[in-house]
Amino acid sequence: MRNRFRSSIFVAVAVLSTAVGQTPAYKAPRTADGKPNLNGIWQALNSANWDIQGHAAAAGPLFQLGAAGAEPPGLGVVEGDEIPYLPAMAAKKKENYANRMKLDPELKCYMPGVPRATYMPLPFQIVQSQQNIMLAYEYAGAVRVVNMGAPTKSPADSWMGWSNGHWEGDTLVIDVTSQNEDTWFDRSGNFHSDSLHVVERYTPRSADTLNYEATIEDSKVFSRPWKISMPLYRHVEKNAQLLEFKCVEFAEELLYGHLRKKN
């Protein structure tokens, strides 16, 4: 009787799953409260921070750094490799690129916003609790606390935006609003306005990798929503930890050097 019951359950669940149309994807282990476990230290392995579109390698802006300062190549992380700028906004992107050594907020150690924080060349850590999921970024100590309860409204614009999250199956979906207009998507001048709305999806694809997707919407700058996607890799070395990257010090000469007392 037991066996028949068990196999019936199996059949029933299988029927249910097939009915829902699920393909057998990787199923992450669960946290103690039954949610997909995304805890860990993660990092993107690409050159998206240089340029989210496909690009060949290129000389860097400072010849004194030679090959060390050169831009690495990349296949791009934008689906379709096209960013649908409105015509006037496409011109602004070109202007940004031409003046990027003056305008890129990363040079000044300003907080990178979302999604750029995800693919900075430094790791970030997910600390997953029930009501909140914290994403702590090594770059500039930037941080987000994602509310996993009923969505709340942002009290004010900020650099890292306001994040509300929920689960869709094994995917963590984070809705990010209220970012100010001062961040860029990369070092190449891809930008947005303060109407930016980002929806991120973090899906475990294996024990040590996540699929990361972000849909970007900003009707003041783009003619339609567009998407970026990339894998995120777990730091599996023993005792991996985020270290301090308090970069204000590294940006001060750039920002205030001209105000230094002479002699």
């Binding site: 579109q53 496909g54 690009h55 060949a56 190549p73 990349g74 296949l75 791009g76 490799d81």
Partner: protein
């Protein structure tokens, strides 16, 4: 009666089997394409395509597609004499301009088997087709610029002199005409000794990289047609230049191992913005005993500072 028929039939069969065996024995003597563990035709090894056969048919050989054995020997002797940088028959200025000595050279000692008078097989005249008008303008402008500014800075000099790339296709030159082919599941890699450039060619049918991604050696994609490896390369950088080619260059290469010691390497150059029609060449590759050596071009590029420094010194004199 039946028994007799049976014996006759049996004998006939037996005889037939015997001759089948004989045929099989004969077949075993011919070359069989070796295969890699995952079933690809095995092209692996270290190969050279050095040859005295020129890319283009010399004008004096117009109309002559194939040399006679005597003509070939004569051609080889004459060529080796002409290119010999160790001859001392012109005085100091001539010696200086010849540069290097034959120790560095590895151009081969023979014309190709088959004695074709050019590596180019199409068009039939064995010569590169004419440039398009826009390419002619482009090339003329570049040459004029080079005459006016032969050595203003590193950008004035060619990609080989700058040690950036030896480029494609694999046309033999005066030295280091060596290539190592290595195959793994789903990939063929070709390591060009000069300038230690490795092409890692996927065979899984994936599309080319996005148009925004350009490269000096382009973006290769391979597949097998029977026992021939076909490599399709696009996405060339605008700074690449094969006899005037542009970033529109579409290069198709074919590698067929025809016996233990020969890979037939054929390439087709298709660049409608540069050449008035596509053209093809065929160059045999034969094995060499040496490994691939490290060609540390840039690290030993004294020539660059010599050229630029020398030019600056001459300008200072004026």
């Amino acid at each position: 009666m039946r028994a007799k028929l049976a014996v006759v039939l049996a004998s006939a069969l037996f005889a037939g089997t015997l001759s089948g065996q004989a045929l099989a024995k004969a077949r075993v003597k011919t070359w069989v394409q070796p295969r890699t563990p995952d079933g690809q035709p095995d092209l692996q090894g270290v190969w050279t395509n050095a040859t005295l056969t020129p890319l283009e048919r010399p004008t004096e050989l117009a109309g002559k597609q194939v040399l006679t054995p005597e003509e070939a020997v004569e051609f080889e002797k004459r060529t080796l004499q002409q290119v010999n940088s160790e001859r001392r028959d012109g005085g100091n200025a001539a010696d200086l301009n010849r540069s290097y000595n034959e120790f560095w050279r590895d151009r081969g000692t023979k014309v190709v088997a088959g004695l074709r008078s050019s590596l180019i097989v199409d068009p039939p005249d064995g010569r590169v087709p004419p440039l398009t008008p826009e390419a002619r303008k482009r090339v003329d402008r570049a040459q004029a610029e080079a005459r006016l500014h032969p050595a203003d800075g590193p950008e004035s000099l060619g990609l080989w002199v700058r040690c950036i790339t030896r480029g494609l296709p694999m046309v033999p030159g005066p030295y280091n005409n060596d290539f190592q082919i290595l195959q793994g599941p789903g990939y063929v890699t070709i390591l060009h000794e000069m300038i230690h450039e490795a092409r890692v060619i996927p065979l899984d049918g994936r599309p080319h990289a996005p148009k925004s991604v350009r490269a000096y050696m382009g973006d290769p994609r391979g597949h097998w047609e029977g026992d021939t490896l076909v490599v399709d390369t696009t996405n060339f950088s605008a700074k690449s230049n094969f006899r005037g080619s542009s970033e529109s260059l579409h290069l198709i290469e074919r590698f067929t191992r025809v016996d233990a010691n020969t890979i037939n390497y054929e390439f087709t150059v298709d660049d409608p913005t540069t050449f008035t029609k596509p053209w093809s060449a065929s160059i045999p590759m034969t094995p060499i005993q040496n490994p691939i050596f490290e060609y540390a071009c840039h690290e030993g590029n004294y020539a660059m500072s010599g050229i630029l420094g020398g030019t600056r010194a001459e300008e200072a004199k004026k």
